[in-house]
Structure formats: structure tokens, C-alpha cells
Symmetry: C2
Subunit: 106 residues, 2 copies
DNA sequence: AGGATAGATCAAAATTGGTTGATGAATCAA
DNA sequence: TTGATTCATCAACCAATTTTGATCTATCCT
């Protein structure tokens, strides 16, 4: 991995972390871990105002954590497992760098 | 895992994600992935105002991502790999739930 | 002791984020 | 076509975070 690749990767990771840094969005994520759901379903189950849920769904989608498909009047959202894997990979790379032999002897 | 355990775990994860959801803090994290550093070192290397860096270091430490030790006038910060592992674990659990056989047949 | 340096803390200003209620677009059913 | 339903969008408001510059504490050196 070149050094200059890193900032981009990191910024992408940052957007993913930011997307998960909110209680409402985490609730949505956990609800969707069980599988695809339509918006009205989520609204009811989570007891959220419709515009509020819509706001967070959009944000999660833009971050790459969700994808959606329309079916008639309904819109179904689901988790993108690849996004979760990206985060895992980023964290794994970070952890790996921490395990390094440490700096040259003093 | 009981259902009621979950909110706590999730909220802890949320705080970690939040801590990583900032460009300055990610820069700090990456700098510390190379090993322990003193504050003045980081200030110089990252070109940050001292109070600004101090603010973010405190936040990262409170989130459990960093720990520090004082040596004379200097304070050294380092990454807590356990925190990174916590995040990895949380994500792995989430990903595992996504792989489920999906809901009962329709 | 006196001066210099490292770092933490604080309050005010600036910025960013989230919520709310209203409105709009698309789909469907009658 | 009309009315109902689902969802997205918008602007105004409110709340949380971040930045900045100043001040404070502790440690060290002379």
C-alpha cells in the first residue's frame, strides 16, 4: 500500500465511522441486520418520525452502509455487508500496524 | 447474548465510532499506530494548535482509544489495541447477523 | 527563587449536526 | 380522475462539537 493511498482510505473510513456514530442510525442498522425492511415498517417498529428516519436512511446510504430498492409504493432498505467488511479491514490494518516491532532501539 | 445487553454494547461501540469520526482524531490515531508519542512531538508533526490537539487527545482517551503516561514534563500517548479489537468484534457480530438464513419463508 | 517549557483547561465564537413540521412527487386503488 | 399512502425534501429551529486564544499548573533547569 502506498502512503498516498492512505488518506483516501482513511477519509472513507471516517465517513463510515461517522455514519455509525449516532444512536438512531445504530438502531436502524441493528434492525436491518435481521434483513431487508421497508421504510414504513421501520418507522413503526422504531417509533420514529418519518422525516427523521428518512434523513438518517439517506445519510447511511450515502455513506455506503445501506442500499435500497423500490417496489411499488414501498422502498426497501438493506445493509451492505461490504461496508461493514471495509471497516473491519481498516481496523485490522490499524491493529496490525500497532503490533509492529516498535521504533529502532534508543 | 440477551437482548437487553445489547443496547449497552452498542452504545459503547457508538462512542468508539464517534471518536473515530473526526479527521483530526484519525490523523492522531494513525500517527500513534507507529508507536507511543509525546504531545509536543505530535503537535509539531501534525501542525496542530496545542489546545486543539489536547482537546482531541482527551476525547480519544475518554473513549478508551488511548492511554497516556507522564514522564517528567512530557506526556506520552499510545493506542489501546483492545479498543480497536472491541470495534472489530462489534462489527464481526453485526456481519454475522447479516449472514443469517433470512426470515421464514414467505 | 526565577524563568522556561509541556500540557491541561476554560469561555467565547464558529461550525456542524439533528429535529420538526410542511410540502411535494410517485404509486396505487376505487 | 380523485383520494390515499409511501417516501423524499426543504427550511427553520435547536443542540452538540470544534476551534481559538488566554490562562493555569507542574516540571525542569540555572
Amino acid at each position: 500500500m502506498r502512503v498516498l493511498d492512505h488518506p483516501l482510505q482513511t477519509d472513507r473510513a471516517r465517513l463510515l465511522f461517522k455514519a455509525l456514530a449516532d444512536p438512531v442510525r445504530l438502531t436502524v442498522i441493528e434492525a436491518l441486520a435481521g434483513g431487508e425492511r421497508c421504510v414504513c415498517d421501520l418507522t413503526a417498529e422504531l417509533g420514529l418520525a418519518q422525516s427523521k428516519l428518512s434523513f438518517h436512511l439517506k445519510l447511511l446510504k450515502e455513506a455506503g452502509l445501506l442500499e435500497s430498492r423500490q417496489e411499488g409504493r414501498w422502498v426497501y432498505y438493506r445493509l451492505r455487508v461490504e461496508a461493514i467488511q471495509s471497516m473491519q479491514n481498516w481496523l485490522a490494518a490499524l491493529a496490525a500496524r500497532c503490533e509492529r516491532p516498535a521504533s529502532p532501539c534508543p
